[in-house]
């Protein structure tokens, strides 16, 4: 038996191809949207993976350091090192800000790294060019997606930094590239006020008789020193000794150190379940709308194509064609349209993904899901056309 659907498609291929391309662009957008969500999840996981930590210790009753702000003393890591099961602990700060680059600026997440070596938690685990930070101040390692080049001078607050190394896939949970700088510099950038604010603060402190009482000049000096010293970090990244259960150690930290401690699973839950949850819902809504629009387009086109063939369908039925054959023809056309759209969409998404400013991750499972979804949409969309075709009276082929 010849393929009636195939012959009809070949006969009106122009209409079919143009519709397929239009549908394909829509499917391409859908695949890209899914890729955007996957990219956000991948970025969140990369952030956790690249930190090299087993536990994240942050201010009590906060979901820091990524989902909420957190501030803890920078000497907390010392006491954490004394706990059983803790192999390493390193301070870290995170600050999303605009970093100056000549006349323009780039949005990045500035990460303050504790002194150490690349095995220290928080340090970028690998570089693709240059070297790690070796000096105590004003050197930076940047993610390549920031656009910074080796040797380039960038401005963070009022200081200039030289990019000495480049890394890759080191981004915040919202996709901003990371720039790593020494911890002390990052603390200054995050907590130190500008000169005018410091001067104003000093004037107010000295004018306050409670802080600057007559006869106790060293009290005011002590107060002023404490105001301009940065002793806070956002988190302490903890690595565990082999054989120790992260949940147990985290429990000990919460109990004895009065700090919040999160395991890798908990932190992933915070990032994916809370930080990007609303974005995910937003994307899910778009996916639903796009799926509905795709279904409407396929349904409309298949319905129109069938409507154009009413007389032929009546003739086919009159000469003894079974309903199953006619329904199969319509269904095959809908599926062929969906397949054309899917191929166009996949190609579009594959080529468009790298052009997006944030990471777009197209995974094979999503592609498979899309194939199934497109097939399901096409089957559903062809229902109305099939119903119409099955209702065609073969008597319509006979005049009168």
């Amino acid at each position: 038996m010849i393929s009636l659907a195939g012959r009809d498609i070949l006969h009106s291929w122009g209409k079919f191809v143009f519709t397929g391309v239009g549908l394909g662009l829509l499917i391409g957008v859908t695949l890209t949207m899914a890729g955007v969500y996957r990219g956000m999840v991948a970025d969140a996981r990369a952030l956790l993976d690249n930190s090299g930590a087993d536990l994240w210790v942050v201010q009590q009753d906060t979901l820091g350091p990524y989902a909420e702000s957190s501030s803890i003393h920078d000497d907390s890591y010392r006491s954490l090192l004394t706990l059983p099961g803790v192999a390493g602990a390193a301070n870290v700060t995170y600050l999303t800000m605009q970093v100056g680059r000549g006349e323009s600026d780039v949005r990045v997440m500035v990460v303050g790294l504790a002194n150490g070596d690349p095995s220290t938690p928080g340090w970028p685990p690998y570089l693709i060019a240059g070297r790690h930070i070796t000096r105590g101040h004003y050197e930076a390692v940047a993610d390549v997606s920031s656009g910074f080049a080796l040797g380039e001078r960038i401005t963070i607050r009022r200081h200039q930094y030289t990019v000495v190394g480049l890394t890759r896939r080191m981004v915040s949970s919202s996709g901003d590239p990371m720039v790593f700088i020494p911890l002390k510099d990052a603390q200054q950038a995050q907590f130190l006020k500008d000169n005018d604010a410091i001067w104003q603060n000093r004037r107010r402190t000295l004018a306050n008789p409670a802080l600057n009482p007559p006869g106790a000049p060293r009290l005011a000096e002590a107060v002023l020193a404490s105001q301009t010293t940065n002793m806070s970090v956002n988190a302490v990244l903890v690595t565990l000794a082999r054989g120790h259960d992260p949940s147990t150690v985290a429990g000990d930290i919460r109990r004895w150190k009065r700090l919040a401690a999160y395991t890798r699973e908990q932190m992933e839950g915070i990032l994916i379940g809370k930080l990007i949850a609303s974005s995910a819902r937003q994307i899910a809504m778009f996916l639903v709308i796009l799926a509905a629009v795709s279904a409407a387009i396929v349904a409309f086109i298949i319905y129109t194509l069938t409507l154009d063939k009413i007389r032929e369908i009546a003739v086919l039925k009159l000469i003894g064609t079974r309903n199953r054959t006619i329904a199969t023809m319509i269904l095959q056309q809908a599926l062929a349209l969906g397949l054309t759209g899917f191929v166009v969409g996949k190609i579009t998404a594959t080529f468009a993904a790298p052009l997006f400013p944030k990471y777009v991750l197209l995974i094979p499972m999503d592609t498979l899901r899309a194939v199934v979804a497109v097939a399901a949409i096409c089957v559903l969309a062809s229902v109305s056309a099939i119903r119409m075709a099955l209702k065609v009276d073969p008597a319509e082929a006979i005049g009168g």
Binding site: I2, E312, V315, I319, G320, T321, R322, D393
Partner: protein, 235 residues
Amino acid sequence: MTGTGIRIEGLRKRYGKGDTAVDALKQVDMAVAPGEVVGLIGPSGSGKSTLLKCLGAVIEPSGGRMVLGDQVIYDNGWRIRDLRDLRRDKIGFVFQAPYLIPFLDVLDNVALLPMLAGVKNREARTRARALLDALDVGHRVAAMPRQLSGGEQQRVAIARGLINCPPVILADEPTAPLDSERAMAVIRILNDMAKSQNTAIIVVTHDEKIIPTFKRLYHIRDGVTHEELGAGRFP
């Protein structure tokens, strides 16, 4: 008349019920032998199309009897379970307009019927090609319907009606869109095919040009058929 092509006895068709009921066919009696071509004529609204639909097993009559070959297909109710198979295998249709499938070439338009009946593609196409050659359109087998002239399209439609060698062919004003010369050619073809394939052909027509070509005619008026002899001559 010898043998049984199609025989219709006391066929009735009523549309609607009660006071609004309309008797489209009141008393239809016809018999067409194998190899015979008869005309069915009548004014508009006389019941021609209703009769054709009943004969074509498209609508169910309200009463009467129809015999196709040796098989009773209707006797105050269908005696055939699958009317689709009946239409495909036992009845050929030729319409006023050719109604060829626009996305199939000439060969497959004709070969489609045997394919639907389960004949292998190659065999169906061989049969179709032979029939198209016989109808003098064998040179257009690869053409699409829109590339054919009106006469060629009608010959392809006739080939489609004949391909399964049905015992009866119902032709609904097959010459209406054609000029005299082509109309006469179509009637000649139908006569030739009726003889060569031993098929009974009923031609519904208004066409004054072709009415003299029938040896027998059935007039239908107010749902009742009347048989009369025709001239049976071609110009």
